[in-house]
């Protein structure tokens, strides 16, 4: 029995060594028992938990004995197997597995056969790791795209804002001298207590700049608006790639009553004239005819004229004006002189407004900055002659006076327009008057009701009744008079 044990022990020692070899190649006899104890236990745990617990209970004896328990060859270890009792069957199957595992060290190629065997029995399903658990930035590409878009927007904002600012400053620098020699007040934002020239443009927006000039003969003041493209908004920049547009300079000169005679006149590109005739209150009322081509007065064909009467056109279009306009026709969008200027037509929901809109004697100029969007600061100098034209127009309009015929015609026109307006609003004005009367009556009645003193109440009531009576009598008298007149 002991001989058998020893015989069995030797291959087991070999195999434990092999096992050690598997876990720890540098196994030494003199090594700590604890090391290979763990490995031993691990080995037991792999196959059979019961065996492992048993191995733990027995204190670590010399290597041979713990390893002897699982690795028993069927043939020779029946005696020791019987000692353990229940776990025969398990052990047999386990030993088979263990042997097949250990055979890998000695026999190559077994592993592959084993593996294929395994894969045929249990197909492994490899799940993809969810994206947010993957430690890669690439899965967040949409977010990176969004942030990049935002950064691009911010960059464009800064660049566009600076460009607009530089263009505005360049315009002001080139025009400053001319303006300061013509106006006592150049630049005002309306907030300072004293009227002192600020010498700066007012910034309304990142793309709109204002300048107010005042203190000159012949006019009340001049408001210059630099309307640049929205270069600071990326959406706008992209939209402009589809539909090109240009920067504009709008000049509005307001005049005193004595500075201008009564006439309405406009000249500009054909498109602009068509649009203004529809939109502007005064042009639609006083210049009813279609825009005439400018070639009749020596202007290029691209320009059209809207005028109240021929005399006005002759008066405005003198040689110098024609010269100015012809030389800078590409930069002129529209020029509008009017003594009845009230802005664009106001669309009201209830119909016509009850009162005529307030009018102001105005000269309006709209110029296109050359470059069509791709303007540089140098292009601003090209607008200087146009400003000269504006100053010249102010002086000219002051001197321009219609002759007697023209004046009569103009007055008749204005009277006609007013009459039309009154007719159209007649019904509405009547209604308004009616409601006002009713309001008054109601107010009086309430007053009477609210009077606490009965005496006074009675007296007020009587007074109201008497007033009613008088009104009725008056009406009757009127009717009688009309009847008499008819007869």
């Amino acid at each position: 029995f002991i001989v058998l044990f020893k015989f069995c022990a030797f291959p087991r020692v070999m195999e434990t060594q092999l096992v050690m070899g598997r876990y720890n190649d540098d196994f030494d006899d003199g090594e700590d028992l604890a090391d290979f104890d763990d490995n031993d236990f691990a080995e037991f745990e792999d196959m059979n938990d019961d065996l492992a617990s048993e191995a733990e209970t027995t204190p670590p004896p010399p290597r041979a004995s713990p390893s002897s328990q699982p690795e028993e060859e069927e043939d020779e270890d029946e005696a020791t197997v019987e000692l353990e009792g229940d776990q025969d069957g398990f052990e047999d199957s386990d030993t088979q597995d263990m042997y097949s595992k250990y055979d890998q060290e000695e026999f190559e190629g077994i592993r592959d056969i084993e593996k294929t065997g395994h894969s045929m029995k249990d197909p492994l399903i490899i799940h993809t790791v969810p994206a947010h658990l993957q430690n890669s930035w690439e899965s967040y590409y949409m977010e990176i795209l969004m942030v990049t878009g935002l950064l691009a927007y911010i960059m464009n904002y800064i660049i566009g804002k600076n460009k607009n600012g530089r263009l505005a400053q360049a315009w002001f620098n080139s025009h400053r001298e001319l303006l300061e020699s013509n106006f006592a007040l150049v630049g005002d934002d309306g907030t300072s207590k004293e009227a002192v020239s600020t010498g700066k443009l007012n910034q309304e927006n990142e793309h709109i700049y204002n300048l107010w000039c005042s203190g000159r003969v012949c006019c009340e003041g001049m408001l210059i608006q630099l309307k640049f493209l929205k270069r600071q908004d990326l959406l706008n920049v992209l939209a402009r790639m589809m539909r090109p547009a240009g920067d504009q300079v709008q000049i509005k000169v307001t005049l005193n009553e004595e500075d201008m005679d009564t006439f309405v006149f406009a000249v500009g590109t054909k498109k602009a004239m068509a649009r203004l005739q529809k939109e502007m209150q005064d042009l639609s009322e006083f210049c009813g005819d279609k825009p005439k081509s400018g070639s009749k007065y020596g202007l290029p064909d691209s320009l059209a004229i809207l005028s109240e009467m021929g005399e006005v056109t002759d008066g405005v279009m003198d040689n110098k004006m024609v010269h100015y306009i012809t030389n800078h026709a590409d930069k002129i969008e529209s020029i509008h002189f009017s003594d009845q200027f009230s802005g664009p037509k106001i669309m009201q929901e209830e119909g016509q407004p009850l009162k005529l809109p307030e009018t102001k004697k105005t000269l309006l100029f709209t110029f296109n900055v050359p470059g069509m969007g791709n303007t540089s600061t140098k292009d601003m100098d090209a607008l200087l002659p146009l400003m000269n034209m504006v100053i010249y127009s102010i002086d000219k309009v002051k001197k321009l006076r219609l002759n007697r015929e023209g004046k009569q015609k103009a007055d008749r026109n204005r009277a006609r327009v007013e009459e039309n307006f009154l007719k159209q609003t007649h019904a509405q004005r009547q209604e308004a008057a009616q409601t006002r009367r009713e309001e008054k009556k109601r107010a009086e009645k309430e007053r009477i009701m609210n009077e606490e003193d009965p005496e006074r109440q009675r007296r007020l009531e009587e007074a109201a009744q008497r007033r009613e009576q008088k009104k009725i009598e008056k009406k009757q008298m009127k009717m009688k008079q009309i009847k008499v007149k008819a007869m």
Partner: protein
């Protein structure tokens, strides 16, 4: 001055010339001074009118509705993003508030801008805290 000269005889004219020239010079000076106030210099200090900001009724250009619409849109999208936990809504809200800021007038309240901005940023952050998965494209 020129009339006087022509009425004189040539001899007297020659005598008077220097004198007249002197006078002419003087009057010319005077007239220059006067014209510098009247003709050459059109500026009038007494005619200054203060700047009055044009009301929105008459000035259509100031009525550009873009910043207001974008502000409203931004708030709606950020609310959607927060309530419905949609990431793309929150991102669009951030874009809207940026566009609104870029188009805003200088007279507008910065508090309004900042509040819409903060709301959209918080919508984005909340969507990612609740669901750290990256946004999936719609295709």
């Amino acid at each position: 001055m020129p009339l006087l000269l022509t009425s004189c005889s040539p001899l007297r004219r020659s005598l008077l010339c220097p004198v007249s020239l002197f006078f002419i010079h003087k009057t010319a000076n005077l007239s220059l001074i006067m014209s510098s106030n009247n003709m050459a210099d059109p500026r009038r200090q007494n005619k200054i009118l203060r700047y009055k900001a044009p009301s929105t009724e008459t000035n259509v250009t100031l009525e550009d509705p873009t910043p207001d619409y974008m502000n409203l849109l931004g708030m709606i999208f950020s609310m959607c993003g927060l309530m419905l936990k949609l990431k793309w809504c929150a991102w669009i809200a951030v874009y809207c508030s940026f566009i609104s800021f870029a188009n805003s007038r200088s007279s507008e309240d910065t508090k309004q801008m900042m509040s819409s901005f903060m709301l959209s940023i918080s919508a984005v952050v909340m969507s990612y805290l609740q669901n750290p998965q990256p946004m999936s494209p719609p295709w």
